[in-house]
Each structure stands twice: as structure tokens, then as C-alpha cells.
């Protein structure tokens, strides 16, 4: 149960980026988990030079921010601007992008699992008979901070509110004299930057392999849809729900059923309440 809560917060943190990109900006960003795994591998590379994974993750954020801006710029120029049929081709584009990243990682690093070294990895904290691995606690802490920071950013700052405004009514924003494309570009950059940090946590929590993004397509989209598109508090709650239900299934039925939990939950949510818990 406790394990579920810790993992749940971690799931929430890996999904906030997607929550912004897909939930607020309506970009069908299927490549989000692939970018996250890319972040993990960059962390691994820096880790080999003795960098702490979390520090490495933070150091990577500006780079990923630029990457995100570039991706959105490209997506906008080729699909959103042309308008017609953007849905089908955009989806295909991001799906292809995910595959390119995955195979690129396989070609560079091979299919083996990779992990990082840090003081808190491998040790655990004993608490009244339970043993909680430090790596989960660290990821939990960073996850909470990240989600809280993003929530505050979106609700308190000027740009944050602007991002929300784009999500609500783009034409109106255009009439106000603001440029929605620049705001979206900024937001997508932030979403991608957050993904770098999420990737760093991913490799802290456990070993990473290139095809890991496939499972996370289910987890992240499950969290975002369950949360209600673009709702940050919802994301946290949905992450917890997913984490706890995964750990329940894990103990009751065994590890081989665990991957289906996120996808099953996703299907159920889509079938019953597609607007999610905190739907707009």
C-alpha cells in the first residue's frame, strides 16, 4: 500500500509533462514516454562522469526545453498550420518519432538494462518493520516538488495563466493581441523539460531499457485521462490511484499481470467517464 503511494506519486510526476502537452495543448504527444526514456539515458551518460542523477536531470532540463520548443515548432509548421487532417498525421508523426528515439537508443546503447550509481540507491529505510528503499523516497520527494511547482506555476504566474488561457479559448486569446503559438511553444518546452527530470527519476527508481517507453504510454496516458485533461491536482490523485491499484494487483495476482493494470484502467475510464475525475 505504502509502496503503491510512493510509486503513484512517481507516476504522477512522469505524467505532468504529458498533462500539459496533451491535456492543455491538445497535442497528441505519444512520443512523451520515449522522450522520458531518452532523458533517462542522458542521465545515465552524465552519471558515468560521476554526476548525481537528480542533478543531472535538472541540468538536462534546459536542453530538453529547447528540444521541446523545436519539436513543437516543427509540429506547428507542418501540421497545425496546414489545418486539415492534422489529427491523423500528427498522431502518425509522434508515433514514428517515438520509434525513432527507441531504435536510436537501441543502436547506441544496445538492448541491455542500464542503471545509475548514487548513495541513496540500494539502501533502504527501516520504518516499524517495513523496509522502504531510499530510491523510491527520493523519487517520491522530487515528484511531489515537481508537481507542486508546476501547479503553482500554472496558477500563479502570468505565463502559466496564459498557457491555461490558450487551452480554454485560443481565438479569444488571439483577439486579445497575444500570440498563442509562442505561448504553446513555451508550454511545450516546459512540458519536455519536466520530462527530462522525470526520466532522471525513472532511472533512479529502477533499471531502464529502450523499450520501456511502451509500457509508459499506458501509464502516462492512463494518469492524464483519469485526471481529467490538464488538471494538475487530478494528475497527482490519478497517479496515486494507479500506483495503489498496481501494487494491489501485484500482491494478489503476481508480477505478470501488472503491465495490464494501467491499460485496463485506461480502457475503463475511457468507457465510463472519458472526461476523467476533474474533467473540464
Amino acid at each position: 500500500m505504502l509502496f503503491g503511494i510512493l510509486v503513484g506519486c512517481f507516476y504522477a510526476a512522469v505524467s505532468v509533462g504529458l498533462s500539459v502537452a496533451f491535456g492543455l495543448l491538445d497535442v497528441p504527444h505519444v512520443a512523451h514516454p520515449a522522450l522520458m526514456v531518452l532523458g533517462s539515458y542522458c542521465t545515465y551518460l552524465l552519471g558515468r562522469y560521476g554526476w548525481d542523477p537528480i542533478v543531472a536531470g535538472i541540468a538536462l532540463t534546459p536542453l530538453f526545453f529547447l528540444l521541446g520548443v523545436a519539436i513543437y515548432r516543427f509540429y506547428y509548421e507542418t501540421f497545425e498550420k496546414r489545418g486539415s487532417d492534422a489529427g491523423v498525421r500528427g498522431l502518425a508523426f509522434f508515433f514514428g518519432l517515438a520509434f525513432i528515439i527507441e531504435v536510436g537508443l537501441i543502436l547506441v546503447f544496445g538492448v541491455d538494462q542500464r542503471m545509475v550509481e548514487a548513495d541513496y540507491i540500494g539502501k533502504s529505510l527501516s520504518l516499524g518493520g517495513y523496509r522502504i528503499p531510499w530510491r523510491l523516497l527520493v523519487a517520491f520527494g522530487v515528484a511531489l516538488l515537481l508537481t507542486a511547482a508546476l501547479t503553482l506555476y500554472l496558477s500563479r504566474t502570468f505565463t502559466g495563466r496564459a498557457i491555461k488561457a490558450v487551452a480554454q479559448d485560443e481565438p479569444a486569446l488571439r483577439l486579445m493581441g497575444a500570440n498563442p503559438v509562442r505561448i504553446k511553444q513555451w508550454a511545450f518546452g516546459i512540458a519536455t523539460a519536466v520530462t527530462a527530470l522525470a526520466g532522471a527519476m525513472l532511472i533512479v527508481v529502477g533499471p531502464v531499457e529502450p523499450s520501456l517507453d511502451r509500457v509508459y504510454i499506458g501509464r502516462t496516458f492512463c494518469v492524464v485521462v483519469l485526471a481529467g485533461l490538464g488538471s494538475m491536482t487530478g494528475t497527482l490523485l490519478a497517479g496515486l490511484i494507479l500506483g495503489v491499484s498496481e501494487s494491489i494487483v501485484l500482491t494478489l495476482f503476481g508480477a505478470s499481470w501488472a503491465p495490464a493494470v494501467a491499460f485496463g484502467l485506461l480502457l475503463v475510464v475511457l468507457g465510463i467517464r472519458p472526461q476523467g475525475l476533474f474533467g473540464r
Binding site: 502518425a92 508515433f95 514514428g96 543502436l107 504510454i217 505478470s256 485496463g264 480502457l267
Partner: protein, 313 residues
């Protein structure tokens, strides 16, 4: 009329090749290309005509393959029965998935189909009867007397399936169903308002598309004489089935066929000469390049060329 002559010629050509003394490897590779023709055509019925992107090809394909395995293990059913049953099972799966998600916007349907892959995969991994995660070994029955080897027979079977798939897709395209689906792609609200039964049509397309994918998967266990969940529910099938129509052109039945033959052959060559990873990379890169630079695929490019040709005269 021209179409039906083409159909007859294709089947005759496949059978003739299989009976002649061509190298065995040709059939081994040709089977895979033809299989992709079926998958791409099936994908295009929903993805190309109606504009609903299906990422779940692997799920339908895998369920088809496993239906065949179950039937073969349980009652030793012949190949024809296996294919029919696989088509029914996958069609049902398509109907179910569609019922659950086709009311929603396109991307939710896409994500849901990814979910279907993983759920089916997990279910099969946990099903002992079909071998679980380690897979199941099968003994091929002897080939029909006319053919030298089983692979040759499967090649012809797949050719017939491909032709049947293309016929179905073409029928849907030229009939009122295709017109309805295209209306849905262009504007779902407008279609609904002008009396197109959108949900029914989408469900129909999803079912037919799923059934064809299942039929394509059914001969796989016999082809490999071995089946395991990780490779039969591989997302690579999904990305290929999506890339091929996109590369060939989605608006015409010929598009997926061109795409599948082009990309399928390239894949076979790359897999043999370089490596399997590069093969997936090629699919991904080509998909992105075509989606960005040539939204109407090879067919669109050809059409443009023709138009240029005419206008220069």
C-alpha cells in the same frame, strides 16, 4: 473489369510461382510482404477512409494467431477453419474496442487500441494452455499434395487473403459505406447532421478491419511453427501497418498495397543485409518523412507528376 482481371492474374501468378522451382527463400520473404499487404489494407479501412488511427494492429494480429493456435491444439482444425475463426475472434475484438471508444475523439481511440495490445499480451502471457511467456511449439501438418513445401502453400494462402482483403477494401471504398466513412473523416458533426449513421459505420469499419488483421495473423503459427507473445503482439506490426498506407497513400485502395510492397520489400532486404533494429528505424524515418513531406503518399506524388505532365503539354 480491369480490376477483376488484375485479381485473377495476381492469384494465378502466386500459384504459378509456388508450383515452379523458384528459390524457397523467395516464398519465405514473400509471405511476410503479402502479410503486410493484408495488414496495411485492413488498417486503411478505418485509418485511411474514416481517419481513426489504429495503433492496435498487433493486438488483432496476435489474437488471430493465438486463435489459430488454440484451435489447432484443441481439435487439430485445418488452416481454412483457423483463418475463419481468427477473423471472427479479431472482428469481435474490433467491435468491442470500437463500442467502448469510438464515441470519443480520435486520439482516445488510438490510445485505447494501444491498451488493447498490452491487455491481450498480458492475458496470453498468463494463459498456460498456449505456452505462456515462453511460447508454444507446433508441428506442421503435411502440405497439400500439389505443393512442394508448406511455406509455398502458405504463400499462396496469404496471396489469396491479400487479394480478398483488397477486394473488400475496394468494395467498401466505392460503395456508400466508403462515402460515409470519408464524410466522417472530413467532418464528423457535419456527417452526423446530414444523416450518416456515423457510429454504425465506424463500428462496421473497425470490425471488418480487425477481422482482416486477425485473418492475416492466423497462418503465422504454422509459418513459424512456433509462437510466443512478445513477438506476436509486437508494436512493430502496428507501426508498419500504419506507415504503409501513409507512405502509399490513404485515399485509394491501391495506396496501402503500394506502401506494403515497397516498405515490406525494403524491410526484408534491410533485415537480411543489415539488422532488425535498422529495419524498424527505416520504418519510423520513412513514416515521419512521408507524413511531413508527402501527405498524400506515393499515390499523391504520382498524381501530381501526371498533372504536371499534362499541364506542360
Amino acid at each position: 473489369m480491369k480490376f477483376w482481371i488484375g485479381v485473377a492474374a495476381t492469384v494465378a501468378l502466386a500459384a504459378g510461382l509456388a508450383l515452379s522451382g523458384t528459390n524457397e527463400y523467395f516464398f519465405y520473404a514473400g509471405y511476410v510482404v503479402l502479410q503486410f499487404v493484408v495488414l496495411a489494407t485492413a488498417w486503411n479501412i478505418l485509418g485511411g477512409y474514416a481517419g481513426y488511427v489504429n495503433f492496435g494492429t498487433a493486438a488483432f494480429f496476435g489474437i488471430g494467431a493465438y486463435t489459430a493456435v488454440v484451435l489447432f491444439k484443441a481439435v487439430g482444425a485445418p488452416l481454412g477453419v483457423q483463418i475463419l475463426a481468427a477473423a471472427c475472434a479479431s472482428g469481435l475484438l474490433g467491435f468491442g474496442t470500437g463500442l467502448l471508444t469510438l464515441r470519443l475523439r480520435g486520439i482516445f481511440f488510438s490510445i485505447a487500441t494501444v491498451a488493447v495490445i498490452f491487455i491481450m499480451h498480458t492475458a496470453i502471457v498468463n494463459w498456460r494452455y498456449v505456452g505462456g511467456a515462453t511460447g508454444v511449439q507446433l508441428l506442421r501438418p503435411p502440405a497439400m499434395p500439389l505443393f512442394d513445401s508448406y511455406t509455398r502453400m502458405l504463400f499462396v494462402v496469404m496471396a489469396v487473403l491479400a487479394v480478398a482483403g483488397v477486394c473488400i477494401a475496394r468494395y467498401i471504398e466505392v460503395s456508400w459505406i466508403g462515402r460515409g466513412l470519408r464524410a466522417i473523416r472530413d467532418s464528423e458533426e457535419a456527417a452526423e447532421c446530414s444523416g450518416v449513421p456515423t457510429l454504425k459505420l465506424k463500428l462496421f469499419a473497425c470490425t471488418v478491419s480487425g477481422a482482416l488483421m486477425g485473418a492475416a495473423g492466423a497462418p503465422l503459427p504454422m509459418y513459424m511453427s512456433f509462437l510466443e507473445p512478445a513477438s506476436s503482439f509486437d508494436l512493430n506490426y502496428s507501426v508498419s501497418a500504419l506507415a504503409m498506407p501513409m507512405i502509399g497513400g490513404t485515399s485509394h485502395w491501391l495506396g496501402p498495397v503500394i506502401g506494403a510492397i515497397l516498405l515490406g520489400s525494403v524491410q526484408q532486404i534491410v533485415t537480411v543485409t543489415i539488422s532488425n533494429e535498422i529495419n524498424v528505424l527505416v520504418v519510423g524515418v520513412l513514416l515521419v518523412v512521408f507524413v511531413v513531406a508527402a501527405p498524400d503518399g506515393v499515390l499523391g506524388l504520382l498524381r501530381k507528376l501526371k498533372w504536371l505532365h499534362r499541364s506542360s503539354r
